[in-house]
Symmetry: C2
Subunit: 337 residues, 2 copies
């Protein structure tokens, strides 16, 4: 377990909570699924469920306010939070924004921040339902999102079974490549500007998650926020399975040859780079044929399968296997940006 995981366990152990509500409580109070997945699920009425998630986006932890477009902070903070809803198969609806900013950023910076956030809200079909604002020496964004889904369709991380096929919704490593270009001061060059965009303005696909959930095609699903190696380990732990990943099938970001001096390995970027917000999901083999009709099916990549053996193995081009350890982002282990 990584140190963020340990911290989460302590928070859960220290507070009255329910990982999964007992049946009786679920009926009397509406909570169906509590702590431990991408989001919490409530069943407010007989036919629908509401899915909640919250997410922090903090200056110098998740972004560098001085080096980022303010619009990116607004856009990305809402997309990040909403990604957890799409990973349950829910349709995003509302968000609550807690925003703390230094007085010096209440001017044009705030206008651009809000413009970026409004663009994300419009793309995702979401509306602000409440919030809190205050001043703080650093920018602090905390967002709670609410999504809706018909009763019983939520896709958790726990349903994966040995033999299920593993998919990702699109290219991996692009956000990490953008971050590397930023760190090397290469963002001014117009030919690289396009490559930085996935870091500042990640795009997510609520339609795919909703489509998979409606048809009950995915056995487990989550979003890749901290890197494939880290998030796959979480999905496997929740489903009590292992996995085999095939190196050659990973949809790695393309690194232009002109950047060879940076020694960026596309495979490492794809395995351990975070913030792509692609969906990672498992599909029983019988359902495989239907995926060709999924929204964005041309970008889906079948990257491996779940296994009974609980380790996670990476199979290279000539069939050799090695253990894959979580190497993604952990806010308590590394510095971001």
């Amino acid at each position: 377990m990584d140190s963020e995981g340990q911290l989460i366990e302590r928070v859960i152990a220290g507070l009255p909570s329910e990982k999964r509500a007992p049946r009786r409580l679920a009926h009397s109070r509406g909570l169906r699924l509590g702590i431990g997945d991408d989001a919490a699920v409530f069943r407010p009425s007989a036919h629908k469920e509401w899915v909640f998630s919250c997410d922090a986006f903090l200056e110098d932890v998740h972004f560098v306010a001085k080096g980022s477009p303010p619009g990116s902070a607004g856009y990305k903070s809402l997309v990040r939070a909403t990604s957890d809803l799409t990973a349950m198969g829910a349709t995003p609806r509302f968000f609550f924004l807690t925003l703390a900013i230094p007085p010096a950023r209440t001017g044009p910076w705030l206008d651009k921040f809000l413009k970026g956030m409004a663009a994300a809200a419009t793309q995702l079909g979401m509306r602000l339902a409440g919030g809190d604002t205050t001043r703080f020496p650093k920018v602090m964004v905390s967002i709670t999102v609410l999504g809706e889904i018909p009763r019983g369709q939520v896709v958790t991380r726990t349903g994966g079974r040995p033999g299920d096929l593993l998919y990702v919704s699109g290219s991996l490593g692009g956000a990490q490549l953008g971050l590397q270009l930023l760190r090397h001061g290469l963002t001014a060059a117009s030919r690289y500007r396009r490559l930085v965009r996935p870091h500042f303005y990640p795009s997510i696909k609520p339609q795919l998650g909703v489509w998979l959930a409606r048809r009950r095609l995915a056995s487990a699903m989550m979003d890749i926020s901290d890197g494939l190696s880290t998030d796959l380990a979480r999905l496997c732990a929740a489903s009590r399975v292992g996995a085999r990943l095939f190196e050659t099938r990973l949809p790695c970001v393309r690194v232009p040859r002109a950047l060879s001096r940076l020694k960026l390995d596309p495979l490492q970027l794809a395995l351990h780079g975070g913030e792509d917000y692609q969906l990672l999901f498992s599909v029983p083999r019988n359902n495989r044929g239907q995926l060709s009709r999924a929204p964005g099916s041309e970008l889906l990549a079948e990257i491996g399968e779940l296994t009974l053996d609980k380790q996670i193995l990476l199979i290279d081009a000539v069939g050799r296997s090695s253990r894959l350890s979580p190497g993604g982002w952990d806010p308590f282990r590394t510095r971001a940006s």
Copy 2:
């Protein structure tokens, strides 16, 4: 309008939101009341409504981590957030916790923080439903709370009418007095320790709000978080009325004579001191008689009345009136603690 108010207006103007959902939307999507009151209200089914609110509790803005018991930060952050639910008449149910802390505070500090928060959760009958944790140079707590209320019983800030009587649920100024003792380094003296407690461990009374809402006795209600003078101005603005307050009826905190050298005026503490989290509510005159059966009725104080004239007047012991300006806490105007 104060500068926090201006900021809130800009956030609302800059993002897709609904102050009050149109009737059609309210049915199709469940949002009944959006931005602008203590909390947002959703109607998930025909018979009940859910009330949401979020609140930030930040080191060096809302509390000083070095000078406060860690348990107080946990306790107070949940109570503050929940206070907004009780101010709508809702029964608190669940909370979502976003917690950012420096690595140095992940040890005993976190244990005590969680213990304080668990005590508040138990007292309030709440359970943790989700959250997010990360590291940050300062302690940052952001909480979203969810409460439940039977359909149509929510008490907003907007329903006050001229002639309605104004009440507060208990003593005012105690939290501010505690903060002053803290600032003057007087917390070690055992005879003052009891006086500091309202600052560190404010208590709220969900029962009173629920009781008033069930019986539809209050025309408008909110909690006093930033000070009576500031919050009454908000209630009056939302209800489009003014108010007359009677100095002699204000339940001011008692300041011990031994503290006279600090020159603390109980009236000023009661008018402008924040963080007491008492309920402020208006009651049509016809309902006055029923208040004697309210939970905690012995602490209720009738402090004045709402008026057609939109100014807020303070009437002194000999009947002279003066304008009362908002003098409570504004995070963008003053430094706390």
